[in-house]
Symmetry: C2
Amino acid sequence: MTGGFHARKLAIVGMGLMGGSLALAIRAQADHITGIDSDERARQIALERGLVDSATDDLYAGVNRADVVILATPVRVIVELLRMQLGSYLRSNTLIVDTGSTKQDIVDAMAALPIGVNAVGGHPMTGKENGGIDEADGALYRNRPFVLCPSRRTTPAARLRAQAFVESLGALPIEMDAERHDHIVAGISHLPYLLSATLVATISNRAQDDSTFWALAAGGFRDTSRLAASDVTMMGDILSTNTQAVATLLAQFRMQLAMLETMLIAGDQERLGEMLLPIQAARKEWAQKYENGR
Amino acid sequence: MTGGFHARKLAIVGMGLMGGSLALAIRAQADHITGIDSDERARQIALERGLVDSATDDLYAGVNRADVVILATPVRVIVELLRMQLGSYLRSNTLIVDTGSTKQDIVDAMAALPIGVNAVGGHPMTGKENGGIDEADGALYRNRPFVLCPSRRTTPAARLRAQAFVESLGALPIEMDAERHDHIVAGISHLPYLLSATLVATISNRAQDDSTFWALAAGGFRDTSRLAASDVTMMGDILSTNTQAVATLLAQFRMQLAMLETMLIAGDQERLGEMLLPIQAARKEWAQKYENGR
Protein backbone atom coordinates (compact mmCIF):
# COMPACT_ATOMS: atom_id res chain seq x y z
CA MET A 1 0.00 0.00 0.00
CA THR A 2 1.15 3.51 -0.76
CA GLY A 3 -1.34 5.33 1.44
CA GLY A 4 -4.81 6.62 0.78
CA PHE A 5 -5.81 8.60 -2.28
CA HIS A 6 -7.90 11.73 -2.20
CA ALA A 7 -8.81 14.34 -4.82
CA ARG A 8 -10.55 17.63 -4.27
CA LYS A 9 -11.60 18.03 -7.88
CA LEU A 10 -11.11 15.10 -10.20
CA ALA A 11 -11.67 15.75 -13.90
CA ILE A 12 -12.20 12.87 -16.32
CA VAL A 13 -11.81 13.64 -20.02
CA GLY A 14 -13.80 11.05 -21.98
CA MET A 15 -17.05 9.63 -20.63
CA GLY A 16 -16.89 6.19 -22.21
CA LEU A 17 -16.60 2.75 -20.66
CA MET A 18 -13.19 3.50 -19.08
CA GLY A 19 -13.95 7.01 -17.88
CA GLY A 20 -17.43 6.20 -16.62
CA SER A 21 -16.27 3.09 -14.77
CA LEU A 22 -13.40 5.04 -13.28
CA ALA A 23 -15.80 7.69 -11.98
CA LEU A 24 -17.84 4.97 -10.26
CA ALA A 25 -14.79 3.31 -8.76
CA ILE A 26 -13.22 6.53 -7.42
CA ARG A 27 -16.47 8.16 -6.21
CA ALA A 28 -15.73 7.98 -2.48
CA GLN A 29 -12.19 9.35 -2.85
CA ALA A 30 -13.05 12.57 -4.66
CA ASP A 31 -14.91 15.62 -3.27
CA HIS A 32 -16.06 16.58 -6.78
CA ILE A 33 -15.92 14.71 -10.09
CA THR A 34 -16.31 16.51 -13.44
CA GLY A 35 -16.93 14.59 -16.63
CA ILE A 36 -15.74 16.17 -19.89
CA ASP A 37 -17.08 14.90 -23.19
CA SER A 38 -18.15 16.43 -26.49
CA ASP A 39 -21.05 13.95 -26.72
CA GLU A 40 -24.18 15.33 -25.08
CA ARG A 41 -25.78 11.95 -24.49
CA ALA A 42 -22.69 10.66 -22.66
CA ARG A 43 -22.69 13.73 -20.40
CA GLN A 44 -26.40 13.32 -19.70
CA ILE A 45 -26.08 9.66 -18.75
CA ALA A 46 -23.05 10.41 -16.57
CA LEU A 47 -25.14 12.96 -14.68
CA GLU A 48 -28.30 10.86 -14.55
CA ARG A 49 -26.48 7.80 -13.22
CA GLY A 50 -24.66 10.01 -10.70
CA LEU A 51 -21.22 9.05 -12.02
CA VAL A 52 -20.16 12.70 -11.93
CA ASP A 53 -21.11 15.84 -10.01
CA SER A 54 -20.91 18.02 -13.08
CA ALA A 55 -20.43 17.56 -16.81
CA THR A 56 -19.22 19.87 -19.55
CA ASP A 57 -17.95 19.89 -23.12
CA ASP A 58 -15.54 22.73 -22.28
CA LEU A 59 -12.07 21.36 -21.60
CA TYR A 60 -10.87 24.56 -19.93
CA ALA A 61 -13.85 24.81 -17.55
CA GLY A 62 -13.67 21.08 -16.83
CA VAL A 63 -10.03 20.86 -15.83
CA ASN A 64 -9.89 24.31 -14.23
CA ARG A 65 -8.75 24.02 -10.58
CA ALA A 66 -8.69 20.20 -10.81
CA ASP A 67 -5.94 18.56 -8.77
CA VAL A 68 -6.29 15.28 -10.69
CA VAL A 69 -7.04 14.92 -14.43
CA ILE A 70 -7.70 11.54 -16.02
CA LEU A 71 -7.46 11.26 -19.79
CA ALA A 72 -9.77 8.42 -20.85
CA THR A 73 -10.17 9.06 -24.59
CA PRO A 74 -8.72 7.05 -27.51
CA VAL A 75 -4.91 7.14 -27.73
CA ARG A 76 -4.64 9.69 -30.53
CA VAL A 77 -6.94 12.10 -28.71
CA ILE A 78 -4.86 11.73 -25.54
CA VAL A 79 -1.72 12.62 -27.49
CA GLU A 80 -3.47 15.64 -29.06
CA LEU A 81 -4.82 16.81 -25.68
CA LEU A 82 -1.33 16.62 -24.17
CA ARG A 83 0.23 18.48 -27.10
CA MET A 84 -2.45 21.19 -27.19
CA GLN A 85 -3.25 23.72 -24.53
CA LEU A 86 -4.08 21.27 -21.74
CA GLY A 87 -0.79 21.92 -19.92
CA SER A 88 -1.42 25.66 -19.76
CA TYR A 89 -4.89 25.09 -18.27
CA LEU A 90 -3.55 23.24 -15.24
CA ARG A 91 -2.19 24.55 -11.99
CA SER A 92 1.14 23.42 -10.62
CA ASN A 93 1.13 20.00 -8.96
CA THR A 94 -1.91 18.73 -10.87
CA LEU A 95 -1.61 14.99 -11.49
CA ILE A 96 -2.42 13.68 -14.98
CA VAL A 97 -2.93 9.97 -15.55
CA ASP A 98 -4.21 8.53 -18.82
CA THR A 99 -5.78 5.18 -19.71
CA GLY A 100 -4.53 4.80 -23.30
CA SER A 101 -3.69 1.38 -24.71
CA THR A 102 -0.23 2.32 -26.01
CA LYS A 103 2.24 4.33 -23.98
CA GLN A 104 5.36 5.51 -25.84
CA ASP A 105 3.67 8.28 -27.85
CA ILE A 106 1.79 9.38 -24.75
CA VAL A 107 4.78 9.60 -22.35
CA ASP A 108 6.68 11.41 -25.14
CA ALA A 109 3.86 13.96 -25.29
CA MET A 110 3.82 14.17 -21.48
CA ALA A 111 7.51 15.08 -21.53
CA ALA A 112 6.64 18.36 -23.26
CA LEU A 113 4.15 19.47 -20.57
CA PRO A 114 5.08 22.54 -18.51
CA ILE A 115 7.34 21.84 -15.55
CA GLY A 116 5.18 21.60 -12.43
CA VAL A 117 2.48 19.48 -14.06
CA ASN A 118 2.86 15.87 -12.95
CA ALA A 119 2.01 13.21 -15.52
CA VAL A 120 2.13 9.42 -15.42
CA GLY A 121 1.18 7.13 -18.31
CA GLY A 122 -1.40 4.51 -17.41
CA HIS A 123 -2.94 1.44 -19.02
CA PRO A 124 -5.60 -0.51 -17.14
CA MET A 125 -5.62 -4.09 -18.49
CA THR A 126 -9.37 -4.42 -18.48
CA GLY A 127 -12.34 -3.83 -20.73
CA LYS A 128 -15.57 -5.23 -22.01
CA GLU A 129 -16.75 -6.53 -25.35
CA ASN A 130 -18.98 -3.47 -25.76
CA GLY A 131 -17.81 0.02 -24.92
CA GLY A 132 -19.64 3.23 -24.12
CA ILE A 133 -20.86 4.84 -20.92
CA ASP A 134 -23.91 2.56 -20.82
CA GLU A 135 -21.57 -0.26 -19.87
CA ALA A 136 -19.86 1.71 -17.05
CA ASP A 137 -19.12 -0.62 -14.15
CA GLY A 138 -17.48 0.29 -10.83
CA ALA A 139 -15.88 -3.18 -10.63
CA LEU A 140 -14.21 -2.94 -14.05
CA TYR A 141 -10.75 -2.18 -12.59
CA ARG A 142 -10.95 -4.49 -9.58
CA ASN A 143 -8.02 -6.92 -9.30
CA ARG A 144 -6.91 -6.11 -12.84
CA PRO A 145 -3.33 -4.99 -13.58
CA PHE A 146 -2.99 -1.23 -14.16
CA VAL A 147 0.34 -0.46 -15.82
CA LEU A 148 1.99 2.83 -14.87
CA CYS A 149 4.70 4.23 -17.14
CA PRO A 150 6.81 7.10 -15.79
CA SER A 151 7.32 10.13 -18.04
CA ARG A 152 9.81 13.01 -17.81
CA ARG A 153 7.03 14.75 -15.83
CA THR A 154 6.78 12.04 -13.18
CA THR A 155 8.16 13.27 -9.85
CA PRO A 156 8.72 10.75 -7.03
CA ALA A 157 5.65 12.21 -5.30
CA ALA A 158 3.54 11.89 -8.49
CA ARG A 159 4.63 8.28 -8.82
CA LEU A 160 3.37 7.46 -5.32
CA ARG A 161 0.15 9.40 -5.84
CA ALA A 162 -0.54 7.60 -9.12
CA GLN A 163 -0.02 4.26 -7.38
CA ALA A 164 -2.41 5.27 -4.59
CA PHE A 165 -4.93 6.34 -7.25
CA VAL A 166 -4.69 2.95 -8.99
CA GLU A 167 -5.05 1.09 -5.69
CA SER A 168 -8.10 3.14 -4.78
CA LEU A 169 -9.73 1.82 -8.00
CA GLY A 170 -9.14 -1.70 -6.68
CA ALA A 171 -6.58 -2.32 -9.44
CA LEU A 172 -3.03 -3.68 -9.18
CA PRO A 173 -0.36 -1.11 -10.13
CA ILE A 174 2.55 -2.47 -12.20
CA GLU A 175 5.34 -0.07 -13.12
CA MET A 176 7.35 -0.41 -16.30
CA ASP A 177 8.80 1.82 -18.98
CA ALA A 178 6.65 2.66 -21.99
CA GLU A 179 8.78 0.76 -24.51
CA ARG A 180 8.51 -2.50 -22.57
CA HIS A 181 4.77 -1.98 -22.12
CA ASP A 182 4.22 -1.41 -25.83
CA HIS A 183 6.23 -4.51 -26.73
CA ILE A 184 4.18 -6.65 -24.33
CA VAL A 185 0.77 -5.39 -25.46
CA ALA A 186 1.83 -5.84 -29.09
CA GLY A 187 2.12 -9.54 -28.24
CA ILE A 188 -0.85 -10.14 -25.97
CA SER A 189 -3.34 -7.75 -27.53
CA HIS A 190 -2.47 -6.21 -30.92
CA LEU A 191 -1.09 -9.38 -32.52
CA PRO A 192 -4.20 -11.37 -31.40
CA TYR A 193 -6.41 -8.65 -32.91
CA LEU A 194 -4.56 -8.77 -36.23
CA LEU A 195 -4.73 -12.58 -36.34
CA SER A 196 -8.41 -12.50 -35.53
CA ALA A 197 -9.14 -9.88 -38.21
CA THR A 198 -7.01 -11.70 -40.79
CA LEU A 199 -8.78 -14.98 -40.04
CA VAL A 200 -12.16 -13.33 -40.67
CA ALA A 201 -10.81 -11.72 -43.87
CA THR A 202 -9.62 -15.13 -45.08
CA ILE A 203 -12.95 -16.82 -44.36
CA SER A 204 -14.93 -13.89 -45.86
CA ASN A 205 -12.89 -14.31 -48.99
CA ARG A 206 -13.56 -18.05 -49.23
CA ALA A 207 -17.23 -17.58 -48.34
CA GLN A 208 -17.73 -15.48 -51.48
CA ASP A 209 -17.61 -18.76 -53.43
CA ASP A 210 -19.23 -20.96 -50.78
CA SER A 211 -21.35 -19.49 -47.97
CA THR A 212 -21.22 -22.85 -46.17
CA PHE A 213 -18.01 -21.52 -44.59
CA TRP A 214 -20.18 -19.25 -42.45
CA ALA A 215 -22.91 -21.84 -41.90
CA LEU A 216 -20.52 -24.41 -40.43
CA ALA A 217 -18.32 -22.06 -38.37
CA ALA A 218 -18.82 -22.79 -34.67
CA GLY A 219 -17.30 -22.33 -31.21
CA GLY A 220 -13.63 -22.50 -32.16
CA PHE A 221 -14.06 -19.92 -34.90
CA ARG A 222 -16.19 -17.77 -32.57
CA ASP A 223 -13.44 -17.55 -29.94
CA THR A 224 -10.57 -17.04 -32.36
CA SER A 225 -12.43 -14.38 -34.36
CA ARG A 226 -14.00 -12.46 -31.46
CA LEU A 227 -11.43 -9.63 -31.45
CA ALA A 228 -12.15 -8.90 -35.12
CA ALA A 229 -15.40 -7.27 -33.92
CA SER A 230 -13.42 -4.66 -31.92
CA ASP A 231 -13.97 -0.98 -32.62
CA VAL A 232 -12.04 -0.23 -35.82
CA THR A 233 -11.21 3.40 -35.00
CA MET A 234 -9.87 2.45 -31.59
CA MET A 235 -7.81 -0.43 -32.99
CA GLY A 236 -6.52 1.74 -35.86
CA ASP A 237 -5.35 4.29 -33.26
CA ILE A 238 -3.71 1.63 -31.17
CA LEU A 239 -1.97 -0.11 -34.07
CA SER A 240 -0.75 3.11 -35.64
CA THR A 241 0.83 4.21 -32.34
CA ASN A 242 2.58 0.84 -31.93
CA THR A 243 3.65 -0.07 -35.44
CA GLN A 244 7.22 -1.08 -34.73
CA ALA A 245 6.48 -3.42 -31.82
CA VAL A 246 3.59 -4.98 -33.75
CA ALA A 247 5.83 -5.56 -36.79
CA THR A 248 8.44 -7.22 -34.55
CA LEU A 249 5.89 -9.56 -33.00
CA LEU A 250 4.37 -10.32 -36.42
CA ALA A 251 7.79 -11.39 -37.70
CA GLN A 252 8.19 -13.74 -34.73
CA PHE A 253 4.69 -15.10 -35.26
CA ARG A 254 5.43 -15.82 -38.92
CA MET A 255 8.60 -17.68 -37.96
CA GLN A 256 6.73 -19.87 -35.49
CA LEU A 257 3.97 -20.51 -38.02
CA ALA A 258 6.49 -21.53 -40.67
CA MET A 259 8.03 -24.05 -38.25
CA LEU A 260 4.66 -25.66 -37.52
CA GLU A 261 3.75 -25.69 -41.21
CA THR A 262 7.03 -27.34 -42.16
CA MET A 263 6.38 -30.22 -39.73
CA LEU A 264 2.81 -30.48 -41.00
CA ILE A 265 3.71 -30.62 -44.68
CA ALA A 266 6.57 -33.02 -44.01
CA GLY A 267 3.95 -35.31 -42.44
CA ASP A 268 6.15 -35.51 -39.36
CA GLN A 269 3.35 -36.03 -36.86
CA GLU A 270 5.75 -36.95 -34.06
CA ARG A 271 7.74 -33.72 -34.30
CA LEU A 272 4.51 -31.76 -34.77
CA GLY A 273 3.19 -33.29 -31.54
CA GLU A 274 6.45 -32.43 -29.78
CA MET A 275 5.97 -28.80 -30.77
CA LEU A 276 2.26 -28.68 -29.90
CA LEU A 277 2.48 -30.33 -26.45
CA PRO A 278 4.44 -27.54 -24.69
CA ILE A 279 2.16 -24.99 -26.39
CA GLN A 280 -0.89 -26.76 -24.99
CA ALA A 281 0.75 -26.95 -21.54
CA ALA A 282 1.66 -23.23 -21.59
CA ARG A 283 -1.90 -22.22 -22.52
CA LYS A 284 -3.41 -24.43 -19.82
CA GLU A 285 -1.00 -23.13 -17.16
CA TRP A 286 -1.70 -19.51 -18.08
CA ALA A 287 -5.48 -20.02 -18.18
CA GLN A 288 -5.49 -21.58 -14.73
CA LYS A 289 -3.56 -18.66 -13.21
CA TYR A 290 -5.66 -16.13 -15.09
CA GLU A 291 -9.00 -17.56 -14.02
CA ASN A 292 -7.80 -17.91 -10.42
CA GLY A 293 -6.69 -14.27 -10.38
CA ARG A 294 -10.02 -12.90 -11.56
CA MET B 1 -38.01 -34.75 -42.63
CA THR B 2 -36.87 -38.03 -44.11
CA GLY B 3 -38.93 -40.28 -41.85
CA GLY B 4 -38.25 -41.82 -38.45
CA PHE B 5 -35.08 -43.65 -37.53
CA HIS B 6 -34.94 -46.96 -35.72
CA ALA B 7 -32.12 -49.39 -34.96
CA ARG B 8 -32.42 -52.88 -33.51
CA LYS B 9 -28.83 -53.05 -32.36
CA LEU B 10 -26.76 -49.88 -32.51
CA ALA B 11 -23.03 -50.25 -31.85
CA ILE B 12 -20.92 -47.23 -30.98
CA VAL B 13 -17.16 -47.62 -31.29
CA GLY B 14 -15.49 -45.06 -28.99
CA MET B 15 -17.11 -44.09 -25.68
CA GLY B 16 -15.83 -40.51 -25.50
CA LEU B 17 -17.70 -37.20 -25.56
CA MET B 18 -19.09 -37.77 -29.06
CA GLY B 19 -19.98 -41.45 -28.65
CA GLY B 20 -21.41 -41.04 -25.17
CA SER B 21 -23.50 -38.02 -26.14
CA LEU B 22 -24.73 -39.83 -29.24
CA ALA B 23 -25.86 -42.79 -27.11
CA LEU B 24 -27.88 -40.44 -24.91
CA ALA B 25 -29.43 -38.64 -27.89
CA ILE B 26 -30.42 -41.82 -29.76
CA ARG B 27 -31.56 -43.83 -26.68
CA ALA B 28 -35.24 -43.92 -27.57
CA GLN B 29 -34.64 -44.91 -31.20
CA ALA B 30 -32.59 -48.06 -30.56
CA ASP B 31 -33.72 -51.36 -29.04
CA HIS B 32 -30.20 -52.11 -27.85
CA ILE B 33 -27.05 -49.96 -27.69
CA THR B 34 -23.59 -51.45 -27.32
CA GLY B 35 -20.59 -49.32 -26.42
CA ILE B 36 -17.18 -50.51 -27.59
CA ASP B 37 -14.06 -49.07 -26.02
CA SER B 38 -10.66 -50.39 -24.95
CA ASP B 39 -10.76 -48.17 -21.86
CA GLU B 40 -12.37 -49.99 -18.92
CA ARG B 41 -13.32 -46.82 -17.04
CA ALA B 42 -15.14 -45.43 -20.09
CA ARG B 43 -17.12 -48.69 -20.44
CA GLN B 44 -17.95 -48.67 -16.74
CA ILE B 45 -19.24 -45.09 -16.79
CA ALA B 46 -21.24 -45.75 -19.97
CA LEU B 47 -22.95 -48.66 -18.18
CA GLU B 48 -23.40 -46.87 -14.85
CA ARG B 49 -24.93 -43.81 -16.44
CA GLY B 50 -27.16 -46.04 -18.54
CA LEU B 51 -25.84 -44.64 -21.83
CA VAL B 52 -25.56 -48.18 -23.23
CA ASP B 53 -27.20 -51.53 -22.62
CA SER B 54 -23.95 -53.42 -22.90
CA ALA B 55 -20.26 -52.58 -23.21
CA THR B 56 -17.28 -54.51 -24.48
CA ASP B 57 -13.67 -54.10 -25.59
CA ASP B 58 -14.17 -56.77 -28.27
CA LEU B 59 -14.87 -55.17 -31.63
CA TYR B 60 -16.20 -58.38 -33.16
CA ALA B 61 -18.63 -59.10 -30.32
CA GLY B 62 -19.68 -55.46 -30.20
CA VAL B 63 -20.58 -54.99 -33.85
CA ASN B 64 -21.85 -58.55 -34.35
CA ARG B 65 -25.46 -58.49 -35.59
CA ALA B 66 -25.59 -54.69 -35.33
CA ASP B 67 -27.69 -52.98 -37.99
CA VAL B 68 -26.09 -49.58 -37.29
CA VAL B 69 -22.46 -48.97 -36.38
CA ILE B 70 -21.20 -45.53 -35.35
CA LEU B 71 -17.46 -44.89 -35.42
CA ALA B 72 -16.75 -42.18 -32.85
CA THR B 73 -13.01 -42.53 -32.34
CA PRO B 74 -10.23 -40.13 -33.48
CA VAL B 75 -9.88 -39.86 -37.27
CA ARG B 76 -6.85 -42.12 -37.65
CA VAL B 77 -8.50 -44.87 -35.64
CA ILE B 78 -11.62 -44.59 -37.82
CA VAL B 79 -9.49 -45.02 -40.94
CA GLU B 80 -7.71 -48.01 -39.39
CA LEU B 81 -11.00 -49.60 -38.30
CA LEU B 82 -12.42 -49.24 -41.81
CA ARG B 83 -9.26 -50.70 -43.40
CA MET B 84 -9.01 -53.60 -40.95
CA GLN B 85 -11.45 -56.42 -40.47
CA LEU B 86 -14.50 -54.30 -39.56
CA GLY B 87 -16.11 -54.83 -42.96
CA SER B 88 -15.95 -58.60 -42.67
CA TYR B 89 -17.59 -58.49 -39.23
CA LEU B 90 -20.73 -56.81 -40.53
CA ARG B 91 -23.81 -58.26 -42.13
CA SER B 92 -25.16 -56.97 -45.38
CA ASN B 93 -27.13 -53.74 -45.16
CA THR B 94 -25.47 -52.58 -41.95
CA LEU B 95 -25.19 -48.80 -41.91
CA ILE B 96 -21.87 -47.27 -40.83
CA VAL B 97 -21.65 -43.56 -39.98
CA ASP B 98 -18.57 -41.97 -38.45
CA THR B 99 -18.06 -38.70 -36.56
CA GLY B 100 -14.49 -37.90 -37.63
CA SER B 101 -13.38 -34.28 -38.12
CA THR B 102 -11.89 -34.80 -41.59
CA LYS B 103 -13.63 -36.76 -44.30
CA GLN B 104 -11.57 -37.49 -47.43
CA ASP B 105 -9.36 -40.20 -45.90
CA ILE B 106 -12.42 -41.74 -44.27
CA VAL B 107 -14.67 -41.90 -47.34
CA ASP B 108 -11.66 -43.27 -49.28
CA ALA B 109 -11.38 -46.04 -46.69
CA MET B 110 -15.15 -46.59 -46.83
CA ALA B 111 -14.89 -47.15 -50.58
CA ALA B 112 -12.88 -50.32 -49.91
CA LEU B 113 -15.53 -51.89 -47.65
CA PRO B 114 -17.28 -55.04 -48.92
CA ILE B 115 -20.20 -54.40 -51.22
CA GLY B 116 -23.41 -54.63 -49.20
CA VAL B 117 -22.06 -52.65 -46.24
CA ASN B 118 -23.49 -49.12 -46.36
CA ALA B 119 -21.22 -46.34 -45.19
CA VAL B 120 -21.68 -42.57 -44.98
CA GLY B 121 -19.04 -40.13 -43.70
CA GLY B 122 -20.27 -37.83 -40.95
CA HIS B 123 -19.02 -34.79 -39.10
CA PRO B 124 -21.16 -33.29 -36.33
CA MET B 125 -20.13 -29.61 -35.94
CA THR B 126 -20.29 -29.63 -32.19
CA GLY B 127 -18.09 -30.28 -29.19
CA LYS B 128 -17.04 -29.09 -25.79
CA GLU B 129 -13.87 -27.60 -24.38
CA ASN B 130 -13.26 -30.80 -22.40
CA GLY B 131 -13.76 -34.23 -23.92
CA GLY B 132 -14.32 -37.65 -22.39
CA ILE B 133 -17.39 -39.64 -21.47
CA ASP B 134 -17.80 -37.67 -18.22
CA GLU B 135 -18.93 -34.73 -20.38
CA ALA B 136 -21.49 -36.78 -22.35
CA ASP B 137 -24.57 -34.67 -23.01
CA GLY B 138 -27.72 -35.70 -24.83
CA ALA B 139 -28.19 -32.15 -26.14
CA LEU B 140 -24.72 -31.92 -27.69
CA TYR B 141 -25.99 -32.48 -31.25
CA ARG B 142 -29.20 -30.49 -30.97
CA ASN B 143 -29.63 -27.83 -33.67
CA ARG B 144 -26.00 -28.23 -34.73
CA PRO B 145 -25.04 -28.94 -38.37
CA PHE B 146 -24.09 -32.58 -39.01
CA VAL B 147 -22.26 -32.90 -42.33
CA LEU B 148 -22.85 -36.08 -44.29
CA CYS B 149 -20.38 -37.04 -47.04
CA PRO B 150 -21.37 -39.82 -49.42
CA SER B 151 -18.83 -42.58 -50.11
CA ARG B 152 -18.70 -45.25 -52.84
CA ARG B 153 -20.59 -47.38 -50.30
CA THR B 154 -23.50 -44.96 -49.91
CA THR B 155 -26.64 -46.34 -51.54
CA PRO B 156 -29.67 -44.05 -51.99
CA ALA B 157 -31.36 -45.91 -49.12
CA ALA B 158 -28.31 -45.52 -46.89
CA ARG B 159 -28.26 -41.81 -47.63
CA LEU B 160 -31.87 -41.44 -46.44
CA ARG B 161 -31.29 -43.60 -43.40
CA ALA B 162 -28.21 -41.57 -42.41
CA GLN B 163 -30.24 -38.37 -42.72
CA ALA B 164 -32.98 -39.83 -40.53
CA PHE B 165 -30.33 -40.89 -38.02
CA VAL B 166 -28.90 -37.35 -37.89
CA GLU B 167 -32.36 -35.84 -37.50
CA SER B 168 -33.19 -38.20 -34.67
CA LEU B 169 -30.17 -36.77 -32.81
CA GLY B 170 -31.78 -33.34 -33.13
CA ALA B 171 -29.00 -32.25 -35.51
CA LEU B 172 -29.27 -30.61 -38.95
CA PRO B 173 -28.01 -32.81 -41.80
CA ILE B 174 -25.97 -31.03 -44.49
CA GLU B 175 -24.76 -33.08 -47.45
CA MET B 176 -21.55 -32.27 -49.29
CA ASP B 177 -18.62 -34.12 -50.82
CA ALA B 178 -15.64 -34.87 -48.64
CA GLU B 179 -13.23 -32.56 -50.48
CA ARG B 180 -15.47 -29.54 -50.00
CA HIS B 181 -16.00 -30.44 -46.35
CA ASP B 182 -12.28 -30.72 -45.69
CA HIS B 183 -11.60 -27.38 -47.37
CA ILE B 184 -14.25 -25.66 -45.24
CA VAL B 185 -13.14 -27.12 -41.92
CA ALA B 186 -9.53 -26.27 -42.79
CA GLY B 187 -10.69 -22.64 -42.76
CA ILE B 188 -13.11 -22.52 -39.86
CA SER B 189 -11.42 -24.98 -37.54
CA HIS B 190 -7.89 -26.12 -38.40
CA LEU B 191 -6.54 -22.70 -39.42
CA PRO B 192 -7.94 -21.13 -36.20
CA TYR B 193 -6.27 -23.90 -34.18
CA LEU B 194 -2.90 -23.31 -35.87
CA LEU B 195 -3.15 -19.53 -35.35
CA SER B 196 -4.07 -20.03 -31.73
CA ALA B 197 -1.19 -22.44 -31.13
CA THR B 198 1.28 -20.22 -32.98
CA LEU B 199 0.18 -17.20 -30.96
CA VAL B 200 0.84 -19.09 -27.73
CA ALA B 201 4.22 -20.27 -29.07
CA THR B 202 5.14 -16.67 -29.91
CA ILE B 203 4.17 -15.38 -26.47
CA SER B 204 5.87 -18.33 -24.70
CA ASN B 205 9.02 -17.44 -26.56
CA ARG B 206 8.90 -13.78 -25.56
CA ALA B 207 7.93 -14.65 -21.98
CA GLN B 208 11.22 -16.49 -21.54
CA ASP B 209 12.86 -13.07 -21.27
CA ASP B 210 9.96 -11.28 -19.59
CA SER B 211 7.27 -13.19 -17.72
CA THR B 212 5.14 -10.02 -17.61
CA PHE B 213 3.79 -11.15 -20.99
CA TRP B 214 1.81 -13.81 -19.13
CA ALA B 215 0.93 -11.54 -16.21
CA LEU B 216 -0.70 -8.90 -18.42
CA ALA B 217 -2.47 -11.20 -20.88
CA ALA B 218 -6.23 -10.85 -20.48
CA GLY B 219 -9.57 -11.51 -22.17
CA GLY B 220 -8.52 -10.89 -25.77
CA PHE B 221 -5.59 -13.24 -25.48
CA ARG B 222 -7.75 -15.78 -23.66
CA ASP B 223 -10.26 -15.99 -26.51
CA THR B 224 -7.70 -16.01 -29.32
CA SER B 225 -5.54 -18.63 -27.62
CA ARG B 226 -8.30 -20.95 -26.36
CA LEU B 227 -7.97 -23.53 -29.16
CA ALA B 228 -4.26 -23.97 -28.34
CA ALA B 229 -5.40 -26.00 -25.32
CA SER B 230 -7.11 -28.58 -27.59
CA ASP B 231 -6.08 -32.22 -27.35
CA VAL B 232 -2.76 -32.50 -29.20
CA THR B 233 -3.21 -36.09 -30.38
CA MET B 234 -6.65 -35.32 -31.76
CA MET B 235 -5.45 -32.14 -33.51
CA GLY B 236 -2.35 -33.93 -34.86
CA ASP B 237 -4.65 -36.58 -36.34
CA ILE B 238 -6.92 -33.98 -37.85
CA LEU B 239 -4.15 -31.83 -39.31
CA SER B 240 -2.26 -34.78 -40.74
CA THR B 241 -5.38 -36.02 -42.54
CA ASN B 242 -6.05 -32.56 -44.01
CA THR B 243 -2.59 -31.24 -44.83
CA GLN B 244 -3.28 -29.99 -48.33
CA ALA B 245 -6.42 -27.98 -47.52
CA VAL B 246 -4.75 -26.52 -44.42
CA ALA B 247 -1.71 -25.47 -46.47
CA THR B 248 -3.99 -23.78 -49.02
CA LEU B 249 -5.83 -21.84 -46.32
CA LEU B 250 -2.57 -20.91 -44.60
CA ALA B 251 -1.29 -19.44 -47.85
CA GLN B 252 -4.44 -17.33 -48.17
CA PHE B 253 -4.17 -16.26 -44.54
CA ARG B 254 -0.55 -15.15 -45.07
CA MET B 255 -1.58 -13.10 -48.09
CA GLN B 256 -4.31 -11.32 -46.13
CA LEU B 257 -1.95 -10.71 -43.22
CA ALA B 258 0.68 -9.23 -45.52
CA MET B 259 -1.91 -6.80 -46.93
CA LEU B 260 -2.89 -5.58 -43.47
CA GLU B 261 0.74 -5.31 -42.40
CA THR B 262 1.64 -3.29 -45.48
CA MET B 263 -1.07 -0.70 -44.66
CA LEU B 264 0.05 -0.67 -41.05
CA ILE B 265 3.75 -0.11 -41.78
CA ALA B 266 2.94 2.48 -44.44
CA GLY B 267 1.08 4.36 -41.71
CA ASP B 268 -1.94 4.47 -43.99
CA GLN B 269 -4.56 4.52 -41.25
CA GLU B 270 -7.34 5.39 -43.67
CA ARG B 271 -6.74 2.39 -45.94
CA LEU B 272 -6.20 0.20 -42.87
CA GLY B 273 -9.59 1.29 -41.56
CA GLU B 274 -11.16 0.61 -44.97
CA MET B 275 -9.85 -2.94 -44.77
CA LEU B 276 -10.84 -3.50 -41.13
CA LEU B 277 -14.41 -2.17 -41.34
CA PRO B 278 -15.84 -4.90 -43.61
CA ILE B 279 -14.00 -7.48 -41.50
CA GLN B 280 -15.66 -6.13 -38.37
CA ALA B 281 -19.05 -6.10 -40.12
CA ALA B 282 -18.62 -9.70 -41.36
CA ARG B 283 -17.71 -10.95 -37.87
CA LYS B 284 -20.66 -9.15 -36.28
CA GLU B 285 -23.10 -10.45 -38.88
CA TRP B 286 -21.88 -14.01 -38.47
CA ALA B 287 -21.94 -13.84 -34.65
CA GLN B 288 -25.53 -12.61 -34.65
CA LYS B 289 -26.70 -15.46 -36.88
CA TYR B 290 -24.65 -17.99 -34.94
CA GLU B 291 -25.96 -16.98 -31.52
CA ASN B 292 -29.54 -16.85 -32.83
CA GLY B 293 -29.19 -20.36 -34.23
CA ARG B 294 -27.99 -21.92 -30.98
